[in-house]
Homo-oligomer: 186 residues x 2
């Protein structure tokens, strides 16, 4: 049964110039990949913005992870941002390998068809970024992929997403209050 498009559901397009505002605070994200009927979901915290627009993202994915091979072969992924309600599923995805289980089925995550890549969006996440690998020159040395975000989706209803931030060893910080300061920085 084919998945429905996320665009028909609760998400809206987010302008690419605003993508940095999702990743710069450093949330744990779920990286999805797909190849030859297999698909995977992997939690990731080792990412950084590299450029504003078009948005470029650097991410480090160990070659011990099943996602590494899928990403290297397909050069496509989706970066999905979960909130604290999904924290237990995020950890479950990290505790298992996609080489052995389909994490969408096992952990009841809903895949949706992306518009620019073959990797699926995760409906339960409040934002999803469809990405293409544009530079693999740092993969051999650092497992560092450079991604370009091609299309961004966001749940417009969620104004203050309670993202989770990995402190290591099973500990996570949940996004707290917001403050505003007279910054000239973008």
């Amino acid at each position: 049964m084919p998945s429905r498009s996320l665009a028909k559901l609760t998400k809206r397009t987010l302008p690419l110039s605003r993508v940095y505002r999702l990743l710069e605070p450093g949330p744990v994200v779920l990286v999805t990949t797909a190849r030859n009927g297999r698909r995977n979901v992997m939690p990731m915290s080792w990412h950084t913005m590299i450029e504003f627009d078009p948005p470029l993202v650097g991410c480090v994915i160990s070659d011990r992870n099943y996602t590494f091979g899928l990403l290297k072969a397909t050069k496509e992924c989706v970066i999905n941002t979960p909130t604290v309600e999904l924290a237990a599923k995020v950890v479950a995805c990290g505790n298992t390998s996609g080489a052995r289980v389909d994490k969408f089925e096992t952990f009841h995550l809903t895949p949706r068809v992306a518009s620019r890549v073959k990797a699926p969006l995760i409906e339960e996440c409040y934002a999803s970024l469809e990405c293409r690998v544009i530079d693999t020159s740092m993969v051999a040395k650092y497992c560092l992929f450079v991604l370009e975000v091609l299309k961004a989706w966001i749940d417009p209803a969620l104004k203050s997403p309670r993202t989770i931030h990995h402190l290591g060893m099973g500990e996570f910080m949940v996004a707290g209050e917001k403050i505003n300061l007279p910054s000239k920085m973008k």
Copy 2:
């Protein structure tokens, strides 16, 4: 007047194997640099862990920033982690250029002598990582420096530091509650 060593004050050595737990949650940090009697402080959010131990950090610093030249020339910096009490000073550092003012003096930040690099530590920050640039091959294309953390300092009294996380356009998220989950991830 020479600065005193931070080691004599409130900070303790943090094992290098634990450095990732400081940076992985994605806080805004203050990067300090020094050269020929000049020094600078720059807020930065575009960073990622690359390796656990020895800790490697990737960071993107625009060539429009005064810090870029200092870092490229000296290949040394300190990554200092402020908490929310310093938020106004963090923004002030971002709103001004080190080419024109000494931000330590202007914003009343206290420099301390580092042990492995010439760049100063910031006493008011709860953690400081002395770093050396080990790879500049991605600087021309992405302004991406790879740093190795040589020495790490932390205030052992602060168990739940209220770090700040940049959402863009003057908006910051302050670190909220902690949760623990049965994760197998490091």
